[in-house]
């Protein structure tokens, strides 16, 4: 499949089919920027988790992808936004094993471990925005023991 817009694009997340599209787009954009196979897989998996959260808990939304650079380093930034009910307790949502929907509860916390930078904004009733960035060739972030 081919995305004409390249690395910068906005994709809708409205159905299971859109998740397939999100994964393919992220994989393609990451490959274009020079991500290795392992890093591609990590970023695609993180995107898959976050996009599913947007769909299942946020009631649908969008994913924006944009290439970023910082001091000569290339990266890919993904922003997932929804206008759903929001998350009341972020710490709880990020902890492994917590789920409000019947999943494994690994999605949000797992996605955070798969990327270099992770930022989440959410207020009850005002939707949720998750912004993640991964950099080409940078070592994975150290595991935080919590």
């Amino acid at each position: 499949m081919h995305t004409a817009a390249g690395a910068q694009a906005r994709l809708p997340i409205r159905s299971d089919m859109d998740l397939v599209w999100v994964r393919q787009h992220v994989r393609q954009a990451a490959a274009q920027l020079g991500f290795g196979l392992v890093d591609q897989t990590k970023l695609v998996t993180a995107a898959s988790e976050l996009a599913r959260n947007t769909l299942v808990y946020g009631g649908g939304g969008t994913m924006d992808t944009e290439p970023v650079s910082e001091g000569g380093a290339q990266g890919l930034r993904l922003t997932f936004s929804d206008e759903g009910p929001g998350i009341a307790d972020l710490d709880q949502a990020l902890s492994d094993g917590f789920t409000s929907g019947g999943g494994l509860g690994m999605g949000l916390g797992g996605a955070r471990r798969l990327v270099h930078d992770f930022a989440i904004e959410s207020r009850p009733g005002a939707g949720t925005t998750v912004r993640v960035t991964s950099w080409v060739g940078r070592a994975p972030r150290p595991r935080e023991e919590s």
Binding site: V20, L37, T41, K42, S48, E49, R52, G103, M106
Partner: protein, 291 residues
């Protein structure tokens, strides 16, 4: 003086049925679809003219759902499909349909030489609307055909992509390919459990070599399948875990727990054969047997 424009157009279509069909038969659309005989094209053209006349008779020139179109809907769909197969885009098919209007309009104008300008204009407008509606009907049919095709293919994919293979007495394998969403994994689980009964399998190998992304939902589906197979007395082995997937699963915090995993299908088969106490014997060059 003549009646309403709609009835005028209806009468005109009935009167000129033969001539219109003859002219249409020479237009690119009909020529390209009915390549074998011109008579066939003329007959098809007449059927369309009849349908248009019937729609005009009912006074529903703007309604693509008018009953008059029912009789020719299938034929129009075939014509549209034939052009699509020939590689034309929807827009190109639409512009070919547009070429059907001028010949009819010219005939109508020559029939209306005696009429007042207002009446001529009304009749031509009515005819244009009617021909426009015909285009909408063809496009609608083409789109619904496309949707039906997509639905069929989706169903096909559900079935085709989940074969259960008997590898050995008591060993079955499922090579999973593509996205493992909820609908697919449900089918996988069902076919696997059925074949465990059918083949009296004690071991089932789930090979995920062809699954590009293993996220927490895919892992959850896998574990549910493994648990269900275990309840039926079969042990599951997950194979085909590539290095990138393995690293990702570790970072994600996924633990397949007590599930036996192997990197390749061959390793998984070797493991199961060993469990079953089956040894592989390689015959040597001089007929001796080495183990």
């Amino acid at each position: 003086m003549a009646g309403s424009p709609t009835h005028e157009v209806r009468d005109f279509l009935r009167r000129r049925r033969e001539q219109i069909a003859q002219r249409w038969a020479d237009e690119p659309l009909f020529r390209a679809v009915f390549t074998v005989s011109r008579d066939e094209a003329v007959e098809a053209g007449k059927a369309v003219v009849d349908a248009l006349a019937q729609v005009a008779d009912a006074g529903r020139v703007e309604d693509p759902d008018a009953a008059g179109f029912t009789a020719v809907r299938e034929q129009l769909a075939r014509m549209g499909a034939a052009r699509s197969r020939a590689g034309l885009s929807t827009a190109q098919v639409s512009s070919e349909l547009a070429t059907l209007r001028p010949p009819v309009e010219n005939l109508l104008l020559s029939d209306l030489q005696e009429a007042t300008d207002t009446h001529v204009r009304d009749c031509v407008t009515t005819l244009s609307v009617l021909m426009g509606t015909l285009r909408v009907v063809v496009m609608q049919t083409a789109l619904s055909e496309g949707q039906a095709l997509i639905d069929r293919q989706r169903l096909q994919l559900l079935e085709v992509a989940t074969p259960v293979i008997k590898l050995w007495d008591g060993i079955v394998a499922v090579p999973l390919i593509g996205t493992l969403d909820s609908a697919r994994s449900q089918v996988v689980m069902e076919t696997l459990l059925e074949s465990i009964v059918e083949q009296q399998a004690r071991y089932a190998i789930l090979d995920i070599t062809g699954v590009p992304t293993v996220d927490s939902l895919v892992a959850q589906h896998l574990m549910k399948t493994v648990a269900a197979a275990r309840l039926m007395g079969a042990e599951c082995i997950v194979s085909g875990i590539r290095p990138a997937i393995a690293q990702t699963m570790v970072h994600l915090g996924l633990d397949l727990g007590t599930v036996v995993t192997r990197s390749s299908l061959a390793d998984a088969l070797g493991y199961v054969l060993h469990q079953l106490g089956v040894g592989i014997v390689t015959p040597g060059a001089n007929g001796t047997v080495t183990r």
